[in-house]
């Protein structure tokens, strides 16, 4: 037991305590960073009010659309990078390059690219860039997010693909599978665990993403990109309503847990099957 103690203390300090503290804050009215009075679920009434549900809906659009683009893209690129072609190392470096760019730098770079007046792509937009409209702004946010996160998907998929035995693929081809059938019925099931872990990782990453959203769109225009994580940040550290911000964080935490458990159950169920 004593051997576990330092680890337990560390986990308690960096995980359990902040979660418990956020839960406590979320049921208090706060002034700046201090608790003032216990108000029960009032902060959650704000988060789960009409505006809050709109935030939740936008969060789902952002997370699901990003996943639907990033995972297939990452897998497709991993398949390409897994082939023995010339300059494969160069391709790997180029494809994985966005991974080393910070969210702030990526946001500022794309903000410039998408500027309708002086950005390099301004000819496409006629004075008003995509960030000027609600849907254009959300679409841009998703594209930039995918651009930033597909390398992670690519790396994990590539590592998984390299564990698929060549004999297994060859056997499927001998048995009459087309390359497409071989891919979907042999390779994908073999790397299913990795794919699910990837989906869990990206889901948590997207749900909690603040920097990119804050820097690229700030939640606008017309609140069209205002997602839960951004509101948690704004309420806590721009408006200093730390109680409301904590309530947003708790809702995010619950969503993370729900999705994480659901994915794990799917993974476990398939493996058991």
């Amino acid at each position: 037991m004593a051997l576990y103690l330092p680890a337990l203390v560390l986990v308690a300090l960096v995980s359990v305590f902040p979660i418990a503290y956020a839960l406590r804050l979320s049921v208090y009215r706060t002034r700046a960073l201090r608790t003032v009075e216990f108000i029960g679920w009032d902060n959650f009434a704000t988060v789960l009010g009409p505006a809050g549900w709109a935030d939740i809906a936008r969060t789902f659009v952002y997370v699901v659309a990003s996943l639907l683009l990033a995972v297939p893209l990452g897998l497709a690129l991993a398949v390409l990078l897994n082939k023995q072609v010339r300059f494969v190392r160069l391709f790997r470096v180029v494809i994985l390059l966005p991974w080393v760019v910070s969210q702030t730098v990526a946001a500022l770079l794309w903000k410039w690219l998408l500027n309708g007046q002086y950005g390099p792509l301004h000819g496409l937009f006629g004075g008003e860039g995509p960030l000027s409209s609600t849907w254009g702004s959300m679409a841009s946010l998703i594209v930039v997010n995918v651009w930033l996160s597909y390398p992670l998907a690519t790396i994990l998929c590539l590592a998984a693909l390299q564990t698929v035995p060549a004999e297994q693929i060859e056997a499927s081809r001998v048995d009459g599978c087309t390359p497409r059938q071989s891919f979907f019925q042999v390779i994908v099931p073999t790397i299913r665990s990795t794919l699910l872990i990837l989906v869990i990782m990206l889901t948590l990453l997207y749900f909690n993403m603040v920097t990119l959203v804050y820097t690229l769109t700030g939640g606008g225009p017309f609140s069209g990109t205002q997602v839960l994580s951004l509101n948690a940040f704004l309420q806590s550290f721009q408006f200093f309503k730390i109680g409301v911000g904590a309530a947003y964080s708790v809702v995010l935490f619950v969503l993370n847990i729900v999705f994480g458990v659901a994915y794990i159950r799917v993974l476990k169920g398939k493996n058991d099957g």
């Binding site: 330092p6 301004h122 004075g127 008003e128 700030g218």
Partner: protein, 438 residues
């Protein structure tokens, strides 16, 4: 050699690790006597960057170097933090027992810092100094008082001016406007003639940076129509006639085509960058940004400033008066040295250095200093000072101003571009704000 780790030793090791980590984290914050030679190490957190291209940053570095060289009791070290993040960083740090010894605070954010407990009153230190220099302030130093206590020392004045790019107006054959209605027409003419590539008159409606650019226009416009955003009783009052007229004027710019939806992505920085890049022809922007903007390629004297045209010919729009202040960190261990630095910062010599960088000094007497009176930008500085003295309006900035400005700019987006009714849009935000204040 082997070390036997029994249960007791492990517990002691764990406790020692935690204690060391705690001590380390505490030591990492706030002031200390790092050198061990009795020299107080003072941390100054500011939005100015001494290593950047902004002339104000270079002036800051000269002042800090001057202070450090002028005495041996304290050494000031500058930490530069983006202006949109500095307030949050300071309040968070102060609430964990750390934070800076000296902090630069923009006046509208001062109440938020006081509520957040990140600064401390300086009445005791400033008493004698104010008795001598207080009447020298261009605008009442009381603007930095919260609940009767002086919380900061204003060191910079700023006014909001009408900016235009002379070269762009000339290119499209547009003459500088003398009224707001003329500004609407001029802006529309420029944007149309440029094929929508140049924003004729920019009013940033982005909710980034807390909607600051919009508020910097809405506030003086409301004052120009005889109202106020926040009334003397602390309640929001912008949904009255004056606020409605101000909002209608903003919408008029959009309806006439002086700006398009591109302003939805513009905050104060983007508007100024647009002026630098030649994609914004006219704007209302702060005096403090003039020097940096003129230093951009191709700008120089093409950027012309004047008092903002009024509602009718021959009148000028009131200008909001705000500015940067210097406050004493709540957790400083060296208040005497901090105060010494604040005095040095407000000295005629330091103020003259900032004036050369395009900053409007806060003390009247500084304008008579040879270094200011003979400076190349002296004529313009005096014009700004006179505008401030004649048409300056000190606004009320409550602790939750950030949230109010963000909500107002979101409402403005809908009223300007989404067909929302103006009185209803303003009333909704006003009622919500006043309800929350209760």
């Amino acid at each position: 050699m082997s070390i036997r780790l029994d249960r007791r030793r492990l517990l002691m090791l764990g406790a020692a690790t935690i204690a060391a980590a705690g001590t380390g984290s505490l030591a990492g914050c706030g002031s200390d006597d790092a050198s061990g030679d009795g020299v107080a190490d003072l941390q100054l957190w500011t939005f100015l960057d001494p290593t950047g291209t902004d002339p104000r940053g270079k002036a800051l570095q000269e002042i800090v170097d001057g202070f450090n060289g002028s005495q041996s009791a304290a050494k000031v070290t500058v930490t530069s933090i983006n202006y949109a993040k500095i307030d949050g960083e300071v309040i968070r740090a102060a609430n964990t027992g750390g934070g800076p010894d000296i902090v630069n605070i923009y006046l509208p954010q001062l109440a938020q810092h006081v509520e957040g407990g990140s600064v401390q009153p300086i009445d005791e230190f400033a008493k004698d100094w104010l008795a001598q220099a207080g009447s020298d302030y261009l605008f009442p130093v009381d603007s930095a008082k919260i609940d009767g206590e002086l919380m900061a020392l204003p060191w910079e004045s700023r006014v909001w001016l009408f900016w235009y790019r002379k070269d762009i107006l000339d290119k499209y054959g547009v003459t500088p406007p003398t009224t707001l209605d003329e500004a609407v027409a001029a802006g529309a003419a420029v944007r149309k003639a440029s094929g929508n590539k140049v924003t004729g008159f920019a009013i940033g409606l982005s909710e980034q940076s807390l909607g600051a650019d919009f508020m910097e226009k809405f506030d003086p416009l409301t004052a120009g129509y005889g109202g106020a955003v926040i009334g003397a009783d602390g309640k929001a009052a912008f949904a009255g006639d004056a606020g409605v007229q101000a909002m209608a004027m903003v919408k008029k710019f959009a309806d006439a085509g002086a700006f398009g939806r591109e302003v939805l992505t513009m905050g104060a920085d983007e508007v100024v960058n647009g002026v630098k890049a030649g994609t914004v022809a006219m704007a209302i922007a702060g005096s403090f940004r003039v020097a940096a903007t003129r230093s951009a390629d191709g700008v120089g004297d093409n950027l012309v400033t004047s008092p903002v045209p009024g509602v009718t010919a021959g009148r000028r729009l009131p200008t909001a008066v705000a500015g940067q202040t210097l406050a004493m960190g709540a957790n400083t261990e060296h208040p005497e040295q901090v105060w010494a630095f604040m005095q040095y910062y407000l000295s005629a010599e330091s103020q003259a250095k900032f004036a050369a960088a395009g900053v409007l000094p806060v003390l009247r007497s500084v304008y008579d200093q040879p270094a200011v009176a003979q400076a190349s930008n002296a004529k313009e500085l005096l014009e700004w000072r006179d505008y401030l003295a004649a048409d300056g309006k000190v606004s009320v900035y409550p602790p939750d101003y950030s949230e109010l400005s963000t909500n107002l700019v979101k409402a403005a987006q809908k009223m300007v571009f989404d067909g929302a009714a103006i009185p209803a849009g303003l009333t909704e935000v006003q009622n919500q704000y006043n309800q929350n204040r209760k």
